[in-house]
């Protein structure tokens, strides 16, 4: 649906050049909720603006729904933009117009008939739960309600793609949750591909199926959210995962283990139904091992459970080997880690 190939973006600022993007390749499939996470200045805002050509790449190709944006006429480009909705951190609503008019804006631009506009806007306001606010002004709404208006407006022209630029960063945690649920409904009900830019890992955890981690203008890690949460490969990804899920053994526990003479632990990573198997009792009963769970962590990622356990397994070496291969056969990722 969205393909970015070899993207470079350079800004000229007075006499210096700022390299915002340094060779980004990214592919987003239809129906994805694709998250892009990074610290500020990583280039993620520039990246999302390339998809609807609010920014043009200095080098590289942007292909949206099969169309290469680089050689489109201004008119054709505007038609393509109507297929791509966008919502913003600060909502960018027209303060001088009612909620109805705000949502109707894309339809007014497309010169739709009055009746058509009316029925579509009312349908959208109902979808986002603001049917009673049609004649209010944005200043009378809360932040969460404003973002709902932003979403309704972005959906007005029946887009195939929805771009979210830090859409929940100005909202409190509870409102963030409700906006994310709404985005999930947008994805499910209308089959709209969503690209989300954020610096909050909890947003990725809640609704994304794929994630790209950005740093200094590059994508440093990319993959399914479960994979990146389970075993982040890059230091920055690891730090982001730690913000919502503490997978590192606390140093106090490490200290205790060393004092007891334990120097290695077995790390198990289980996903989905495997995460709820009676692992411990099997290890103890079937393989006659002494098992203690030193540190465990479970997290829900889009209704899939990810469990990470650190076990101290004592007993007969052969039994232990058999136990580990049993775990591997049951789709448990096993890794020996030193304390």
């Amino acid at each position: 649906m969205i393909e970015l190939k070899g993207i470079h973006k350079v800004y000229q600022k007075k006499n210096t050049e700022v390299q915002a993007l340094k060779g980004v390749d990214l592919s987003i499939d239809k129906g994805d909720i694709f998250g892009v996470i990074g610290y500020s200045g990583a280039g993620k805002s520039t990246l999302v603006r390339l998809v609807n050509y609010l920014e043009r790449p200095s080098q590289g190709q942007v292909i949206v729904d099969g169309a290469y944006l680089g050689n489109q006429s201004p008119h054709a480009l505007r038609q393509i933009k109507k297929q791509i909705g966008m919502i913003f951190q600060h909502f960018n609503l027209l303060e001088s117009k009612t909620i109805f008019k705000n949502v109707a804006m894309p339809l007014i631009l497309a010169k739709k008939s009055k009746q058509e506009i009316r029925s579509r806007v009312l349908e959208l306001l109902q979808f986002v739960g603001l049917e009673d606010k049609a004649s209010n002004y944005p200043s009378e709404l809360s932040g969460g309600q404003k973002q709902r208006v932003g979403i309704a407006r972005a959906l007005a022209s029946n887009p195939k793609i929805l771009l979210c630029d830090e859409a929940t960063s100005a909202l409190d945690p509870q409102t963030t949750q409700s906006i994310l649920s709404l985005l999930q409904r947008v994805n499910k009900k209308y089959g709209i591909t969503i690209m989300i830019i954020t610096h909050e890992m909890s947003v990725i955890q809640k609704i994304c199926n794929k994630v790209a981690v950005m740093e200094e203008g590059r994508v440093i890690e990319e993959g399914s959210v479960l994979d990146v949460f389970g075993h982040p490969e890059h230091e920055t990804s690891h730090k982001f995962v730690q913000t919502v899920m503490n997978t590192d053994i606390p140093s106090r526990i490490k200290e205790q283990l060393r004092q007891q003479g334990t120097h290695s632990l077995t790390k198990l990573e289980m996903v989905g139904e495997h995460a709820t198997q009676p692992i411990l009792s099997t290890l103890i009963q079937r393989f006659d091992l002494k098992v203690s769970a030193v540190f465990t962590n479970m997290i829900d990622i889009q209704n899939t459970t990810l469990a990470i356990w650190y076990l101290d397994i004592q007993g007969d070496t052969r039994n232990k080997e058999r136990a580990l291969s049993y775990l591997k056969q049951n789709d448990v990722l096993v890794k020996e880690v030193t304390v």
Partner: protein, 219 residues
Amino acid sequence: MFDTSITLDQFIEAIGDTLYMVGMSLLIGTIFGSILGIVIVFTRRGGILAFPMVYSTLNVIINIIRSVPFIILMVSITPFTRVIAGTSIGTNAAIVPLIIFITPFIARLVENSLLEVGSGIVEAAESMGATPLQIIWHFILPEAFGSLILSLATATISLIGASAMAGAVGGGGVGDIAILYGYHRYDSFAIISTIIVLIIFVQFIQSAGNHLARLVRRR
């Protein structure tokens, strides 16, 4: 009761002349000034239709006209005024320099008002695939409307001041009364009544501007 030589009819006629001069030059100046203001917002670096050459040229022209005090501007363009209005004295002749004076002023005020509209609004409009004309008409102008009304109030007050100077070269209006009777004939009543009328005008315009701006702003 007052030791004055002006009659009520003369005074009312002068007020009418002032309103006529201000009204006409405001109308025409607003049309030209708004267009000019929109063009310089569009063509500036980073604008919707960035065209730095056009922008810098207009920018310099606006600055040049605005550097000349109205009374000097008025006398220096007399030949031009004669071509346009057919005469260089009287109310109609005064309108020509008033328009030239107020157009770049309004252009600057419009520029400021439009630039107040956040870049986020423009970005939202562009993301919807709006054309440059749609961006100005459906997004920037409505959002800047309150600020534009206040700008127009400022411009109108400026014009009233300038129109009084037009009186000095036979332009008519209340300024004419103040100079002709008040200054040259030591008629204090003429001066004071002129001042009172001007104060009432300005108060009225500013309050009306504030009120209207509040109505459309809704923030």
